[in-house]
């Protein structure tokens, strides 16, 4: 699937704003992404949120990713 990367995450993928990656769940996707781009590790440590068809998931690694979903990776954010 096509995974879009925002902000500083794209730097960890060599500047790519969009990468090809496979995964049936968020956990599988992040694992595959890490294998492909080891520099993503520090961002995974800091936390990554995954938007699937516009819905943002911060923690649920078992969340399924539907086929042809719009997948967007964001840095994990803080709130007040």
């Amino acid at each position: 699937m096509q995974v879009q990367l925002s902000g500083i995450l794209s730097q960890a993928a060599g500047g790519a704003r969009c990468v090809d990656c496979a995964g049936a769940t968020i956990g599988e996707l992040l694992q595959a992404l890490l294998l492909k781009y080891p520099e993503m590790q520090s961002h995974l440590d800091d936390g990554i949120a995954v938007a699937i068809n516009g819905e943002i998931y911060r923690d649920r690694r078992d969340q399924p990713i539907p086929a042809n979903a719009d997948v967007f990776l964001l840095p994990r954010i803080q709130g007040g």
Binding site: G7, I56, P75, G79
Partner: protein, 753 residues
């Protein structure tokens, strides 16, 4: 997932009603116990010595005289906090902020701490600690700190987010970029382009209750911490990590909280209090003064923002860009990134780009403040939106409606929106009676939009039914805005009982599994979700007990209106069993009846608000009076409308103070000049009109009741709404917050030449 989280459009009998708050009597009678209200036998008084310098090497600390003072039981400096972070830079930043390690990084940075038998002795001990400083050059302004000639705050900081990766130190900790499309092509299509720069000054959350805790830590590594916090589980984990403790052996209890707004999501003195207690082997109570709160706990960023927006004559925006420079205090943060993400989130833009720079300065470590970073970005963007509309000769609300994001819009920060409420809030503004009020001389009206993400997170809840049928719901999210009332309504709704039968308790860290901090407007969203599921879990037990009592299969039992009913003609002779009746028999039917749930409550749903504001500006003094203020916001589903309205009003009130008065003032020496409520003026009742509200309910598809968080978004539009109103009143575009009387007069005079 044990339960389905999708919105079901169910009807409600309890949810949505305006019941009395459960904590009201305790709070008005003084019975509620806050951070400073706990005491323990033999407790000591903790005090912290703070740097008077903006930036200085600590060449020597002599604590010998303080240690010899009778009554002093412990003295600590940076060397008493060994590095147990395992190379985690973020944790080391927290530790170094709690206690300086060889260098004071801002006025008010902790350099030593004492615990003594009373306050007088502790204060005397602080005077006996001799610190030798070598002052270093400092910088407190965000734009100055970015210049190549600025003093470097940390020699280990390299700007991330730029290619190639730099090899030299910089005060720019991070560059982040968001957006899509081609802004150059977009601006080329524009008939009108407006470009303007803005500044906002640093503000504090201004919670009335200062930070306070009572810490007990024994030589065996077991401890207790009573503390005012938004997240006692997070405090436990952070303190345990910094001090080398087992998480399970540190029990943290959240007191009642006198305001937090993000400022109590971070540890400041708590690890110090615990370490003092461990050294003295006695409980230590540590309460910050207001001066310390201002100087050493996280305010929000001061900022410098450039915005450029282009539009066609037909009112369609063709391109928008922003550069946002946010200072994060003396340690790296994500604050400019959040500004960049939120800046254009209200709009449907084909070509958009926002770039954020997080910048280090010699000020206290910035902390979250209610929709952190979004208000400053909104001030700049919404001001330029008004300017573009004016240039096009369009009504500013119509211009916003024409460009508002909607379901399917690709957000400026990346993802595609689901069902959202920005359009409906703007339509509500357009049709609101407020907009028809006639304005007088020196009066102006302003409108602005705001966005915040909201999030959910890890949540764990227990529901226990007593033998009399009363219910205790134990949650792990601190009640910062009325969540106990809302959660009791939810439990009552699910169980079919009266609201008054439910008591909600905030459990300590040893009574529940981990709960994330109450931040990101998550309290009622996530604990509400867990409460629904815990109640449904308990209902299953209730049905089983009824089935056993009747001697029928549980499949033949339904739960309706607070009682078990036997289905089917064969069970016509079985009268319903109420929750009270089943509970009364529970000791003999299997024991206690309880429900439990742990959930990762994702899918919080983004939040939008639109505000309108009328002001009158005295052209001779520059003083602004808020004549009328109205908040329109999407709540998804308002569980307890009073509290939702209260959140809307509270955010607006804080935003009004931020817009008009509040400001950290630093001298040339880098020292804070106004660390107190006399000189740092938050709004009081006489400054504010009644703040009107309108709740919209556009259900969040990812919550069974459709709930969205409501706590933060309401602080996003006020800076801009007031900025637009003041600008319209005086005929001069205001570009610097706070719009204090001297600043307004200066702007008027400058415009007059």
């Amino acid at each position: 997932m044990p339960y389905e989280t999708d919105y079901t459009n169910q009807g409600f009998s309890k949810v949505g009603t305006r019941v009395n708050r459960p904590d009201g009597v305790d709070k008005v009678t003084g019975r509620a116990k806050y951070g400073a209200d706990a005491n323990a036998a033999g407790q000591l008084v903790g005090r912290i010595l703070r740097s008077p310098h903006a930036h200085a090497l600590i060449t020597k600390i002599d604590t010998s005289k303080a240690e010899k003072l009778p009554g002093v039981k412990a003295v600590l400096t940076g060397k008493d906090f060994p590095d147990l972070t395992g190379g985690d830079r973020g944790m080391m930043n927290i530790l170094e902020n709690c206690m300086a390690r060889g260098r004071a990084l801002y006025d008010g940075h902790a350099v030593a701490a004492v615990a003594a038998i009373d306050a007088d002795t502790a204060n005397e001990a602080l005077k006996l600690i001799k610190v030798t400083y070598k002052q270093l050059p400092h910088v407190t302004d965000v734009d100055e700190a970015m210049k190549p000639s600025a003093p470097i705050i940390h020699d280990w900081v390299r700007t991330t987010g730029v290619t190639p990766a730099p090899t030299t130190a910089s005060n720019v900790a991070q560059r982040t970029e968001f957006g899509h499309g081609d802004i150059d092509a977009g601006f080329a299509q524009a008939d009108v382009i407006i470009e303007k720069s803005f500044k906002t000054e640093q503000t504090h959350q201004g919670y009335i209750e200062p930070h306070a805790c009572l810490a007990t830590l024994g030589p065996d590594g077991s401890g207790e911490l009573w503390v005012t916090t938004q997240g006692h589980f997070t405090f436990r984990n952070v303190c345990a990590s910094l001090l080398g403790l087992d998480v399970a052996k540190l029990r943290v209890t959240a007191s009642e909280i006198g305001g937090g707004f993000g400022g109590k999501t971070h540890v400041w003195t708590e690890p110090v209090a615990l370490q003092l207690s461990r050294r003295a082997n006695r409980p230590v109570k540590l309460v910050m003064s207001r001066d310390e709160v201002f100087k050493a706990t996280g305010p929000t960023s001061s900022t410098s923002v450039d915005v450029k927006i282009g539009a066609k004559r037909n009112g369609k925006i063709t391109a928008a860009s922003a550069e946002l420079r946010y200072q994060s205090g003396a340690f790296p943060g994500m604050w400019a990134m959040l500004g960049a993400m939120t800046s254009f989130a209200c709009y449907d833009l084909k070509n958009v780009k926002s770039v954020g720079f997080d910048v280090l300065v010699n000020r206290p470590k910035v902390a979250a403040y209610r929709a952190p970073s979004a208000p400053m970005a909104a001030f700049a963007v919404e001001s330029v939106v008004d300017m573009v509309a004016a240039e096009l000769g369009m009504d500013a609300v119509e211009f916003r409606i024409k460009n508002a994001a909607k379901k399917g819009t690709k957000a400026s920060y990346g993802p595609v929106y689901g069902p959202i409420g920005i359009g409906p809030t703007l339509e509500a503004v357009k049709n609101h009676p407020h907009m028809k009020r006639k304005l007088g001389k020196n009066q102006g009206r302003g409108v602005a939009c705001g966005f915040w993400f909201n999030f959910g997170g890890q949540t764990c809840t227990d529901l226990n039914i007593g033998v009399d049928g009363s219910v205790n719901l134990t949650v792990g999210t601190v009640d910062v805005g009325g969540s106990r009332a809302s959660l009791a309504l939810i439990a009552a709704e699910e169980l079919g009982i009266d609201y008054e039968q439910v008591r909600v308790t905030i459990g300590d860290t040893n009574s529940l599994g981990h709960n994330d901090t109450t931040e990101g407007s998550r309290g009622t969203f996530s604990s509400g979700m867990a409460a629904i599921f815990a109640a449904r879990d308990a209902v299953e037990v209730l049905k089983q007990r009824a089935a056993a009592t009747w001697g029928i299969p549980v499949e033949q039992v339904v739960w309706e209106a607070g009682e078990a009913r036997a289905k089917g003609k064969q069970n016509n002779n079985l009268p319903p069993l109420s929750l009270k009746e089943i509970a009364a028999k529970s000791p003999r039917t299997g024991g206690p009846i309880a429900g439990h749930n742990e959930v990762v409550a994702d899918g919080a749903g983004v939040s939008f608000a639109s505000h309108m504001c009328d002001v009158e500006v005295d052209p001779e003094t520059g003083a602004t009076k808020i004549l009328r203020y109205t908040v329109v916001q999407d709540a998804g589903k308002a569980i307890h409308p009073d509290y939702v309205e209260g959140q809307f009003q509270g955010g607006a009130a804080q935003g009004i103070g931020w817009a008009l008065n509040e400001e950290y003032v630093y001298g040339d020496d880098g020292r804070l000049q106004n660390a107190g409520f006399l000189d740092y003026r938050i709004p009081v009742c006489s400054d504010l009109p009644f703040i009107d509200t309108q709740i919209l309910e556009i259900p969040n598809p990812n919550h069974p009741y459709g709930v969205r968080g409501v706590g933060e978004t309401s602080i996003v539009p006020p800076l801009a709404a007031i900025g637009n109103a003041v600008s319209n009143a005086v005929g001069v575009r205001m570009d610097h917050v706070p719009m204090s009387p001297p600043r307004i007069l200066k702007a008027i005079e400058a415009a007059q030449g």
